[in-house]
Symmetry: C2
Subunit: 475 residues, 2 copies
């Protein structure tokens, strides 16, 4: 791409402004009159629908069932698990007037639904035969955040929340890892985003969880984005809510619980991993419009007819196609579909008619090449696989080039201040974690599953090191 | 079905109790700890997913796009259209505490989203080129109802709400009729439910609409159920919210607006139109489980293997199949899948192995017949079409047998008190409509599109009759 799209700020000039520009100009979202609550516009919502389709199939393949729980949680119910309520209390939106009358037990607009699921499970789980229960919910949640950014941090966002109950600790722990793998696979197959998988530190784990795992992505500006989490709760919620079952051995036990979720944050990840100075760049399999057809010299005989024939054939082959036959100029259309990140643009003009060809422009690297119309479906199928792989590799290179070992506290500081992940051998004490945050504002992103020791002592305190941890500034 | 399922009340004994029993025993829903808010359990939610799949495809085929608007509406915004806010004010759930602080402009948990859509449209519509805008949203809405019943009237329900803007009145009016046709087609193709289509009276129309159209279904107990509505708003909201566009003729105009929706009420319709004393009866194309396979003498050699082979083949053919190989008795399994309304049960036992057959039981009429396993996929494909048609016809007969002409006020009273629709030639005055409601509690369901006059005067006041209206008691 040599021509910068004039209507947006460049990435290097002001990354935050570039991000907001893309969100708005690609028509992914708009602001509403309620502070922090955004409108998911058709193009943004359609990307979310693609993610939903992918994940919903994976969830169902692994035996999960969808349910829908109330949108409100009584304050008294939320208070049953102490750590959990403490974690969420500062962010709650609370309703206390219904039909003009005050409501005694105030209602929290759901920030997450552990309490509702666990209460329901207490009613429907009695025997080991009732386990596992593998439920998932697609919905929105509300968190009263002070500073908000589209898709990254909002007063309301769309997500899925899985909540499961298992007879044994082992099975529940396996579930948290199984779901993390599904999220990771979604990155590889659909979003063209490589994630670092790992466990959260005690400081960073979810309110009420015994362990939290996450997938972490690296944005173009060197900041990390937590893109999905899975939690193992042990039997803490189950005890607090009285969930019990009669096991095979005749004993009454509390089941072991997990929850896991990804949200419309993934749209933020797509934008900031792949986007460029001309706007959004979408990986082909998640793109709501995969192919934009732009007729050139549309009024010359046969051009529009050929464009429509192409559209029909490509749609029949299962591609998502937009033919733009509006009276705008080809140049305007090129910018428009570049801004919207459409992976492939097909130009077809008078010269192509006789030659039985079309011009194909790839959005990810801006290259253009003329192809025969024979076997075009096959050509495009191959191109999509190629584009997906190119985008994944570019993101992977960016990730690998921006993970550096920090042997001293100064090195850790330098790395995270420059942008990217600092690998550090950590003693495991929260005081050392706090110290780094205090100095740099970077946080422990995760204790990655791939643990390779490169140093015996913690560079903060000098004590014996226990874990390899990744620190980074994060959204 | 000759054996009544003992665990539920019979329809004729106590229809309301039968309904609640089916909702609970078929595991469609459960009550939550928040009064009026139900839990949509996996089996109930899966039926809703089938309806969503069907309608979402129809909406997209007709050019509609999905969006997601905030879950809350500022009170000040809701007050912009006077009739609308008056209609909804008594049912609002209101939040006024966010992050521990009072909220100045209180937030209404959305009961419907006309205000949010219209405000957004004011920002994005400028020219005739921006029209039409055809948006739809899948979400839940909250209405603080005093008396609630699962799926029929609840504090929260799931629905879709379409909101569209058009350059001309004619086009907007066409949209309300087009969407009503799609709802009607969903009844015919998917739910096996015949609807009466018509226009609502002034008294019964939606708050803020100029005209409301509805589809009305007749339940087994003779009560009507409004199952979907479409509304024409004129430019009332557009004016109140300042939505304007520059038309082709160079003039500034307000666009014309519609909205339309169906909800999880449709689950109530399915239950009460098709259900029987053994529980739910699902039409095949909306059933989450279309075929239940119950192996007979499961431990005899080859039986379970054959059952699994059947499952695999039928799933490959695209059917939704459940093989129950649990250690429960066949009798228990029969009751279970009858209660859940699974359209076809396949029994396969030792005798079938040699004969290459299986027993197929149809849920809708309780008949059983032995079929060859050769071409079983084809056999079942045909059976599903046949079952769907039988169920539709039964519902249509019930509808047609329960519409009667009321020539006098007494006749109208008798008809609606007995159950079913009273056809009446009406003068058009609300006082006459009120009088019937006062006497019988029946309401004007609609002014049906099929208008055939059978009487010159209104039986209530004796004035000249204008419309054929259907009255009925309704949910």
């Amino acid at each position: 791409m040599d021509i910068k799209n004039k209507s947006i700020t460049s990435r290097d000039e002001d990354f935050a402004q570039w991000y907001t520009d893309v969100c708005k100009k690609a028509e992914l979202m708009d602001y509403s009159s309620v502070k922090g609550f955004i409108i998911y516009r058709p193009y943004g919502y359609a990307i979310w629908e693609q993610i939903q389709n992918y994940l919903d199939k994976e969830f169902k393949k692994t035996g999960h069932e969808n349910v829908y729980m109330p949108t409100v949680i009584p304050e008294s119910l939320m208070q049953k698990e102490k750590d959990h309520v403490e974690g969420f209390a500062p962010e709650c939106l609370i309703a206390d007037i219904g039909g003009g009358q005050p409501i005694q037990d105030k209602l929290i607009i759901r920030p997450t639904s552990e309490c509702l699921f666990t209460e329901h499970y207490a009613k429907i789980i009695n025997s080991y035969r009732d386990l596992p229960k593998l439920y998932n919910q697609w919905c929105s949640v509300v968190r009263w955040e002070k500073t908000t950014r589209p898709f990254l941090r909002g007063a309301e966002f769309l997500w899925q929340e899985g909540h499961t109950m298992h007879a044994t600790e082992q099975e529940a722990r396996q579930e948290t890892l199984r779901m993390l793998e599904i999220y990771d696979k979604c990155g590889k197959d659909l979003l063209a985003i490589p994630f670092v998988k790992g466990r959260k530190t005690e400081k960073e784990k979810f309110a009420g969880a015994l362990e939290t795992y996450s997938i972490e992505a690296l944005m173009h500006d060197g900041k990390a984005l937590q893109s999905g989490t899975t939690h193992y709760f042990g039997d803490g919620f189950a005890k607090a809510f009285g969930v019990q079952f009669l096991d095979k051995d005749g004993k009454i036990k509390n089941p072991h619980q997990t929850s896991w979720g990804v949200s419309t944050r993934l749209l933020g990840a797509i934008i900031m991993v792949h986007g460029d100075d001309n706007g959004l760049v979408l990986p082909p399999f998640v793109a709501p419009i995969q192919i934009a057809i732009v007729p050139i010299k549309m009024n010359e005989p046969g051009v529009l007819q050929k464009a429509r024939e192409l559209q029909k054939n490509l749609e029949s082959a299962g591609f998502r196609v937009k033919l733009d036959d509006s009276d705008k100029t080809p140049g305007w259309k090129f910018s428009e579909y570049e801004m919207k990140g459409v992976p492939i643009r097909i130009e077809v003009g008078p010269k192509d008619l006789a030659a039985n060809t079309c011009m194909i422009a790839k959005r990810n690297d801006g290259t253009k090449e003329r192809y025969s119309l024979d076997n075009l479906e096959e050509t495009i199928g191959k191109l999509f696989k190629q584009i997906h792989q190119e985008m994944y590799n570019a993101a992977l290179n960016n990730l690998l080039n921006n993970i550096h070992e920090g042997h001293t506290l100064e090195e850790v500081e330098q790395i995270v201040n420059k942008g990217g992940y600092a690998k550090m051998m950590w003693c495991g004490k929260q005081s050392c974690e706090d110290k780094i945050k205090e100095l740099t504002n970077a946080t422990a992103r995760c204790i990655p599953f791939d643990q390779i020791s490169f140093q015996d002592t913690c560079p903060v305190c000098g004590d014996k090191s226990k874990y390899l941890v990744l620190f980074a500034k994060a959204y």
